[in-house]
Chain length 220, copies 4
Amino acid sequence: LNTAPTPKSKPDTPHETGRIEAFSDGVLAIVITLLVLELKVPDAQESVDFSLLHELLRQWPTYVAYLASFLFVLVMWINHHRLFSLIHRSDDYLLILNGLLLMGISLFPFVMALVARYLEHPQQRTAFAVFNGLSIFNSIFYNLLWRYAAHNNRLFSSSTDPALARIITRQYGFGPLLYFAIFLIGLWNGPVSLALSVGMGIYFALPNRVFNRFAQSAEG
Amino acid sequence: LNTAPTPKSKPDTPHETGRIEAFSDGVLAIVITLLVLELKVPDAQESVDFSLLHELLRQWPTYVAYLASFLFVLVMWINHHRLFSLIHRSDDYLLILNGLLLMGISLFPFVMALVARYLEHPQQRTAFAVFNGLSIFNSIFYNLLWRYAAHNNRLFSSSTDPALARIITRQYGFGPLLYFAIFLIGLWNGPVSLALSVGMGIYFALPNRVFNRFAQSAEG
Amino acid sequence: LNTAPTPKSKPDTPHETGRIEAFSDGVLAIVITLLVLELKVPDAQESVDFSLLHELLRQWPTYVAYLASFLFVLVMWINHHRLFSLIHRSDDYLLILNGLLLMGISLFPFVMALVARYLEHPQQRTAFAVFNGLSIFNSIFYNLLWRYAAHNNRLFSSSTDPALARIITRQYGFGPLLYFAIFLIGLWNGPVSLALSVGMGIYFALPNRVFNRFAQSAEG
Amino acid sequence: LNTAPTPKSKPDTPHETGRIEAFSDGVLAIVITLLVLELKVPDAQESVDFSLLHELLRQWPTYVAYLASFLFVLVMWINHHRLFSLIHRSDDYLLILNGLLLMGISLFPFVMALVARYLEHPQQRTAFAVFNGLSIFNSIFYNLLWRYAAHNNRLFSSSTDPALARIITRQYGFGPLLYFAIFLIGLWNGPVSLALSVGMGIYFALPNRVFNRFAQSAEG
């Protein structure tokens, strides 16, 4: 009698997470490319005063929001790539958790448009609160996904490095707290919070020597 | 003399369904990401009364429709993933059936927009009838695809678990009936039908212990 | 000294055409999904006469164009899938030919919108001429791609069935002529040409017993 | 003690760059397909003078921009394909460099729309300057990506042909200079610069016999 509703992966499939990664790559590639739709071509005017260069430069808030969002989604892809280079097996709960993470990521074109449209408006704080709130949501789901997979090495294989897994658990654990701090900063000064948020993302995406040394001494 | 118009798969291809899965992943990833285009940034106004927060909250029907549609498409991807973890071979009819299933799924951004736009309108029932009607269509095509593949183990391989295949056949068989019941409920109360529809999707996507025990006793 | 500008494929890559297929799957998945953006939600009106059902039914030309285009792009994907199940190697000219074929396919959302918008307009013939003209263009590029690959088995491997390759060469050779006939019919009656075009696509996508028997007797 | 934050790739993954290529294919497929959204269906008019054919032909600047951009993105995909057929390993810096390259490529639908809208406007030079400026940016990032990977064979494997790698290094080195020259030409005559830019892209994408012979004699 069969009691396992999750089918065994095909024996000739390279690894069980192949289709999750392909689907996630698709969603992330679309999200990062849809961002460009927020860049609008200025309407051509026939008046003598009209300067296309001037009109293009006047759109700088959109460019800032575009650059920030692109780097953001890129950092998320790098993180997703990193986690799934350690996660070797899959189950139905992982599919759900990964789906909710992708939902948070696919909301970026919307919150980016919100920030771009309100960057010079008196109520820009609301826009930044939504943007930073989404970052908190996403960092929580990164943690849930990772901890679900890492719990008792549930979805790891024998080739997964346990020391590296522990480093990632500790590093990701700081995420929600840091993004909550950035959220509070954004209530005071939105652009500063955006700069901090992007900077932090890049810092964690890059090979992080300081953190490693810290982790090393904590272990040693 | 050759009479088979379907070419044999390349000997070095991991499995015959690889490209069907890649194409389907692409369509599903785009559908689930396009949903975000229905979320609109409120127009900035200079009046003293204007509150961005208020304007954002006023759009709650769109958020409900977004969340429901995202979960819906996610559940469809999980189901597609499950079926194709058992289907190991491919033929031209499978390509056609899978294509028609993808057509139904790719209509979700349209029916979601319809529901969002009419959620507070007197004629919301028509919108829900279209939404629930699409679910009936999709569940019928899931059944056709699955039964075509499962008939005499047509597209299975020796590693496909026959007991698991039988459980899926029985579980999917209920789908069209249940969605027809939800369709009727939607003619009376649209939002209730939406909640039932999403809840049912999640219930069947999750590892389903109750159903398994039932299946187990029916088998044993 | 090295004179070959095309690098050798990685030894551990499953087959040389993997990335061409992945890129083509991406383009085709996006094209087939973008079609839904042409379906518009009717504007909600408060008047007593307003009927959402009536407004939805009034858009029937869009649904016809959607269905025709979806089946069209699906048939193109099935054809692409079939060709690349026989093409095992790649070179730079194949990349260019495949790219031009993808250009033709990615124009479908535009010509579909054109047909949908002008289906009830006195000048619908122009719209159908563009639609059918694109089909001629595409069938020519399918032939160029296939003949380039098949010439002296240039991009085949030892496992490619030569009899099957010959059947495809003959079958595809009729394509441009048939689509030119459909183009001429469209100048007289647009909808009839659309029906013929879709029907022919489906006929050739399905396992074609009549054609096979004909091919068989021609060979035997 | 573990000091490497980049996890080792799974032992059963075909090669380390698989997911980078899949993500890049996704972005490039979306970019090349989004271009079609710039082609607009002319509004249907009831007047006797209205000619759909005339209206379609009047949009020729959009078609020129579409064709140029499609070929451009196709050439970029071919180049990306070529580089990653030699790059066999991955690290975090490669992910970042590849991401910035994808950012440049994903801006093409925007600059294409800019050129299309201003092709007949007195200030078309500004539009061409942006278009050609983006090409300089992209050719610089192609060089950075390639040189990072090629430095001391950092991300090559034993099967990478060193002579071929040297040819590519030399060929790509000319890119930024050539695109800067095209940028200057565009300040004088935009359309000429566009034709040169597309022509150069195709020339380098095709198997380049002249260049190879030159490279050969330089080596020999």
